[in-house]
Symmetry: C2
Subunit: 317 residues, 2 copies
């Protein structure tokens, strides 16, 4: 296990390790969205990644980085979202078992997706305490290795490869990269890749108003919880961890928030104008750029579309 924030070589090695299994996702542009934003937008399409989200990168890097004896009894985690699918997929890739703890009110579509990768699901009540105690019991019973969804340096290192690819495939360099923030795995990895591979590129974070913990943490200089949690961006509900927070605090230019209506409007633009299925959490970065036009006017902006896993039967439009 890594005991320090990833350095440049860690990220390069992780990228070589996972590259044979993941998509180098395309970077797409839209003249319509450039006109609307007044900027040059470069969308890194992680909704087209394996399992439909960037989480495949961090989960696979964490699983592949485990010594053989730590893989043999399987991998365990708790998640109702993309990390669950990512761990199930990554475990199958290396031929070991995945034990996933999911809340008993998880959408059927997500349960089916995790089952589809051959994982064993244990249901529990939807409280943080229940989820953690259930996964601990599984770890004790099976000897499986627990992989946290974001507060894990191997996971952060894997997520850093999103921005590494975006930087490598952009010429001239981007002025800005915008990533959404939940627990901060993607954002901290993005900040480190910008620092190592494109030091002139600023990293901004976009966060839902209804899960506004990162903006508070960033300004107050310590991990804070959100004043309330109520947002359609269900991938961004968690607060920062002790591994992600210091990286974010040290290397992110600012954290800016958007309302759910702004997220839905941005999501609709991505669907209608770019023909991309994007989940609410994946539209938060565009929403933030459109809300702050003066800040970003005329700039070359990389926007991370983090995922596309959405229940088509329950769309907000």
């Amino acid at each position: 296990m890594m005991t320090h924030a990833p350095n440049r070589e860690n990220i390069q090695q992780a990228h070589e390790l996972i590259a044979p299994f993941i998509h180098r996702t395309p970077i797409m542009t839209s003249s319509a969205l450039n006109a609307i934003s007044g900027a040059e937008l470069y969308f890194k399409c992680e909704n087209l990644q394996k399992i439909g989200a960037f989480k495949a990168r961090g989960a696979l890097n964490a699983v592949l980085s485990l010594p053989g004896q730590d893989r043999v009894n399987g991998i365990a985690t708790h998640s109702s979202g993309n990390h669950a699918q990512a761990i199930a997929w990554a475990a199958a890739k290396v031929g070991t078992k995945a034990f996933i703890v999911m809340p008993d009110n998880s959408p059927l579509v997500k349960i089916k997706a995790v089952e589809g990768y051959g994982a064993e699901i244990t249901f529990c009540k939807n409280t943080p305490e229940e989820r953690e105690s259930t996964v601990l019991q599984i770890v004790e019973r099976t000897g499986a290795t627990f992989i946290h969804p974001f507060n894990n340096y191997e996971v952060i290192t894997g997520q850093a490869t999103v921005a590494k690819e975006l930087i490598e495939d952009s010429d001239p360099a981007l002025d800005v990269i915008v990533a959404p923030v939940g627990g901060g795995g993607l954002l901290s990895g993005t900040a480190l890749s910008a620092r190592y591979f494109s030091p002139g590129t600023k990293v901004y974070a976009a966060e839902p108003e209804g899960a506004a913990d990162a903006v508070l943490s960033f300004r107050n200089g310590r991990i804070e919880k959100a004043p309330y949690v109520n947002t359609i961006a269900d991938g961004l509900l968690t607060y920062l961890g002790d591994k992600t927070f210091p990286i974010i605090h040290g290397h992110v230019a600012d954290v800016l928030t958007v309302s759910d209506q702004e997220i839905i409007d941005a999501m609709r633009l991505l669907w209608e104008r770019m023909k991309l299925v994007v989940e609410p959490s994946g539209a938060v970065s565009l929403a933030m750029v459109l809300k702050n036009k003066a800040l970003f006017e005329g700039k070359r902006i990389g926007i991370v579309i983090s995922g596309g896993n959405v229940d088509l039967g329950r769309l907000p439009f």
Copy 2:
């Protein structure tokens, strides 16, 4: 105006003419859909084309091929669908006016899209006679040039560039290309490009059961109308023309039909598994391949996703 079906050089020249203005759309793959189909599927993503559909190619080639004096008074057409947007866009590209006749029950989203390209819209009742007489009046009044949505050799030549790109970007050669058929502009162009640029590649057509004119025409050797018209694939309602039918009859391997439920199921797979917004007409080819697994098993199949313009407020799932 071309007076013969396009030859190889016509298609090559059209491609050079329109290439600076259109997207060379990506070819995407999905391990999930390969597993479901039992074949190797290569999706040519014309939903990511300008105006959200392949129609941009044919319309632009037709407009750019006009001598200057035939452009100066504008371009006229009748369409409630993608050809309307394509002509409006193409006319704007060359700096001339577009006059679009649309049925007075057209969805607001399509009216707005056509207006967004600066076209002048004339509404009429939704019958073929009304549409044709209205556009004739406009041509007489304005001196605009009428461009038919499919029964026009310049349009066919432009649509042929979809398969030309698909063939050029595939190595080794595809065994099969599948395209949807409405009036036959895309299908006849696809058949000609396969013949010229990849003679070993068979072209199949996919058609909705609820607009089954092409299958009848193909088998009976003459242009037939559909026994009834009732399908969600609203881009494929028309019957073949005297320019498209002979090409299709001479160079297509077969025309196979699918039900609306099969179209909706295929559309849902494209949205959920590939994160692509695809309109019903654009999912017909995949639906046909999934319905005829034995015919296509193990083959390398190019599938044309023809468009992605869909009203998000009126989805079939």
